[in-house]
């Protein structure tokens, strides 16, 4: 009876697996296919369902026998790494046909951190993992099979090297290096592992470490020399030593005409020297040549795609990006680059799809999330007929005004009171090398616009309006390089300040030069130059830029207004949220000084501050401020001017202050 029930259970399990498997029977598991899903239990009875793991960027299925040491070797190596690097994001499921008791002994003995799942036979059969053990299946996003390995010993080594490469693709350089070290420890002759370590160091920006690794390889004979020298070409290029890199590249090319990556580095160098045709030829060689690691092949396809995109060959670029992602499913750059080609063709829904795919790879990717948000906005706009009409009408008016150069504003009687601070970004000029990722200028300006708008102090002209206006005026990015054109554009958009500049792609990062230009005086109140290093967080850089722009605006264009009325310890000011007043904004109340007559000349001195006030309530057109201190009672028509607190004005982000003297009075929500 018990035998029958066990048999039935087994049959039921096999049926479940066959039914739930996605178009897979008992055939060979091949990279590129979707992995058949299953559900198994661990020792404690916990269920592990593969279909629920679709959103995981990587999962390793490790089929093994608890009694065979060679079949456990790879699993134990991975276990050690996972224990050493808690943030490793290494998900491994051990799967075995061994009995529950033996598995319990194994777990007790090895104290493995991975779940060991008990298989009766169905899953092992499905993955062709009954006869040869270990069988290792590395799954990527959406449960796509990336790699499939069978056998221990040498195969385990190959599996670990491939895993290190995959970690390098995911920019988990520390883990890539650790896995490479693990391989080299067991087999010091493993050249691929050493090479992966070198490229991981290079990606981290540790040029000295990378140089040392590749230099050591280059001193050996045979394939090691070539791998080492190819790596050194990449190091020199990143160090900003192009001549040295090109000389060594020639040598590698002659000795190993089949190696591809050296052409990619050459292509990058030639592109930065503005030799685009030569760069294209090199990228093409990089794509065609067979000898290259997967992560290198993917870069070759991406760079050629970027070049095509820059020439407006969007379809060709997309094909290359697709190939790059097929080779390296973790290639977030190529994934979002594809979206940008759609965006340039106005196909926003397809662009959004690409950005969402990029976000599956890394949900915290600032680049992809900014681009996705923008695409969503554009899709919504396309559906919103009224809004579209409004923009069309506005664009037409602005284009007419641009062509005729009519002044947009009527003369205003009150010259003291501030008008809203309107800022308009004009896309940055991109110079230097060919960035692996397209659209940095767009991401920077979009994100900065959002942050500045959120501050309440600055209103940034809608990007869609500028884009449509440029389209209407038939102005391209090269026209905007002319500051006069940018200024004219700023004026018709009624912007007080325009933000423009350049992005200079250097081998080890990007140099951003942002200029704020006053549209009325053509003065440049602020120039910010920042190096966005390959390791620096884009989000942090954007936050810093946002602070610097806000600080400049407040210091150079302080809000000015009048006291409308004064009662007790509170005054009403003729400035509100429309003009950029926020809670806590401080003003000085100013008193004009009588000019002094001296030798027939009138000498005017600066107005004298007679009080300090702080905003406690804000309405659209006015605000109320409490009086912090005063030399005389305040009255209607007293002038006020925004005053930034010293600690903030200094821009010293190294300081923070505790509010002293705050004692238990509680904090009131301003109602």
């Amino acid at each position: 009876m018990r035998l029958i029930s066990r048999l039935l259970t087994s049959v039921a399990m096999v049926m479940t697996v066959i039914i739930s498997g996605t178009n897979v029977g008992y055939g060979q598991i091949t990279p590129g296919q979707t992995a058949p899903v299953f559900s198994l239990k661990d020792l404690k009875g916990g269920t592990h369902d593969l279909s629920l793991m679709k959103d995981q960027p990587m999962i390793i299925l490790y089929f093994f026998d608890v009694e065979s040491r060679p079949s456990q070797e790879g699993l134990l190596s991975l276990d050690q790494l996972a224990k050493r690097y808690e943030d490793a994001d290494l998900i491994v499921w051990g799967i075995t046909l061994s009995s529950k008791k033996k598995v319990a002994d194994f777990v007790a003995r090895t104290n493995t951190s991975f779940p060991v799942l008990l298989d009766k036979s169905a899953v092992s059969d499905l993955y062709q993992a009954r006869l040869i053990l270990p069988t290792v299946c590395i799954l990527g996003p959406e449960l796509k099979v990336l790699d499939y390995f069978q056998g221990g010993g040498k195969t385990t080594e190959i599996m670990l090297v491939r895993l290190a490469e995959r970690k390098l693709q995911r920019k988990q350089t520390m883990l890539a290096k650790a896995i490479s070290d693990e391989v080299v420890k067991k087999n010091p002759q493993n050249l691929e592992a050493r090479t992966v370590k070198g490229y991981a160091a290079l990606k981290e920006g540790n040029l000295n470490e990378a140089e040392e690794i590749f230099h050591n390889l280059s001193q050996k004979k045979g394939p090691a020399e070539l791998l080492g020298k190819e790596g050194l070409v990449a190091v020199y290029a990143q160090k900003g030593e192009p001549e040295k890199a090109l000389v060594l590249a020639e040598e590698v090319e002659q000795k190993a005409p089949d190696r591809g990556y050296v052409h990619v580095v050459k292509g990058d160098l030639l592109y930065s020297q503005n030799k685009k045709a030569e760069a294209e030829a090199e990228y093409k060689k990089g794509v065609q040549k067979k000898m290259a690691a997967l992560y290198q092949k993917a870069v070759a396809h991406n760079q050629l795609g970027r070049l095509y995109a820059s020439m407006g060959k969007y379809q060709g670029a997309r094909e290359l990006y697709d190939q790059a992602v097929a080779i390296d499913p973790y290639y977030i750059e190529a994934t979002s680059n594809k979206g940008i080609t759609y965006e340039k063709e106005g196909k926003w829904d397809k662009a959004l799809e690409a950005y969402r795919q990029a976000l599956v790879l890394d949900k915290n990717d600032t680049f992809a999330s900014v681009l996705a948000k923008k695409a969503q906005k554009m899709i919504a706009l396309q559906k919103d007929v009224a809004q579209k009409k409004r923009i069309d009408k506005l664009v037409k008016e602005l284009a007419d005004r641009y062509r005729s150069q009519k002044k947009s504003r009527a003369r205003i009687k009150d010259t003291w009171t501030s008008r809203p601070m309107v800022l308009s970004f004009v896309d940055f000029q991109e110079k230097g090398g060919l960035a692996e990722r397209d659209g940095l200028s767009m991401v920077l300006t979009t994100q900065l616009a959002d942050q500045l708008n959120a501050s309440g102090r600055v209103q940034v002209v809608e990007r869609v309006l500028i884009e449509r206006l440029l389209e209407e005026l038939n102005l391209g990015s090269s026209d905007l390089a002319d500051p006069e054109t940018a200024l004219k554009l700023g004026k018709v958009l009624a912007a007080k300040v325009i933000g423009t500049g350049s992005l200079y792609y250097l081998p080890d990062g990007t140099l951003l030069s942002l200029r704020l230009i006053d549209t009325e005086t053509s003065a440049i109140p602020k120039v910010v130059t920042r190096q966005i290093g390959s390791r620096a967080s884009l989000e942090k850089e954007l936050n810093r830029l946002n602070r610097e722009i806000l600080r400049t605006i407040i210091l150079k264009y302080p809000l000015q207004g009048y006291v409308v009325q004064s009662s007790g310890d509170e005054v009403m000011i003729n400035l509100g949220s429309k003009q950029g007043v926020v809670l806590g904004t401080r003003f000085e109340v100013l008193e004009e000084q009588e000019p002094i007559k001296y030798k027939g000349k009138l000498l005017r001195s600066s107005p004298k501050p007679v009080a300090q006030i702080e905003v406690v309530r804000v309405e659209p057109d006015l605000c109320y401020a409490r009086i912090l201190n005063q030399e005389r009672p305040l009255k209607t028509d007293d002038k006020v001017k925004e005053k930034i607190e010293d600690v903030v004005a200094m821009g010293s982000i190294t300081d923070f202050v505790t509010v002293h003297g705050f004692r238990g009075s509680g904090f009131r929500v301003q109602g």
Binding site: K431, E541, I653, F656, G666, F667, V669
Partner: protein, 313 residues
Amino acid sequence: MIMIRPNKLLILVLSFVLIGIPLFAETEGSLKLYPLPITELEGALFRWLTHSGFEVRRTSLKMGQVQLNAVKAKENWQIFLKPRSPLATEVQARYSVGEQPDEARLQELWGYISRYTKGPSVEKWDAYQGIPTAVLSQIESVVCIRARAKNEDIQLSGFIVDQDGLIICTAHDLKGVRDIRVVLYDGRELKGHLVKMDPRRDLTLIDTNLKSTTFISLAKGRNLLGMGERLYSVGCPVNLGGTVHSGIINGPPRLVNDLPLWQVNMQIQPGSSGSPVFDAQGNLVAIVKGRYRGTESVGFLIPFETIIEFVKE
């Protein structure tokens, strides 16, 4: 006598209850002001809380104020953010487990925000890259120059260019000076004699009786610099000898009085004028002329070619 109708009275009472009750009563010292825009601080706190496993609920209050409520099992955070100008934010927080407040966790929050506020900036990232050894090795050839002009003490930087103790520096501060003193890297002070001055090129040659084994060779200079190239100046601003600043060429060369000047994004302080400027390989590429008025980070450099013309003439 003022009569208040019952419904008005109710509204009044409710107003006091809703508006007047302090959010966090008796929370001495838990209110802090940070020089960060409210959106940035909110984002940082949101990440910190979600990373620690909390579920965060955000409530938008009037006039840009925000309240974050975060819950994880019995743990509970209440954080209230209020803008204090567009660039600063007041933060008030309360943490409790069950109903029990925990001061230590509150300190963790303040610690996190202050670490964030001080966080690794680009400058620190650059510093991490380190100053090239080739540049550091030139420090001993840099000198501080002091002089008296009318009623004023003057101080600038310069550098030794040969084994006989010839020194090059800028000229703009040295018109009509007397008593030139040269302070070496090791603190020795020597008398200097003006040999040659070119106000147009803004360069001066000073002689000392020094026999020096360390000097910056003009034969190893470099002329053509690229946009975006990283440079290093070594000088004695505000009398601090051997101070290294790094910067980047951020503008095309400008012609001033028919002479080229490089624009750099580099910290330049009083006394920096005359500092030698090197590339990453330690080659002399320029000399600091000065800074753009009103800023400390936009500077101008006299290129190497002008130094050579001056010496040759």
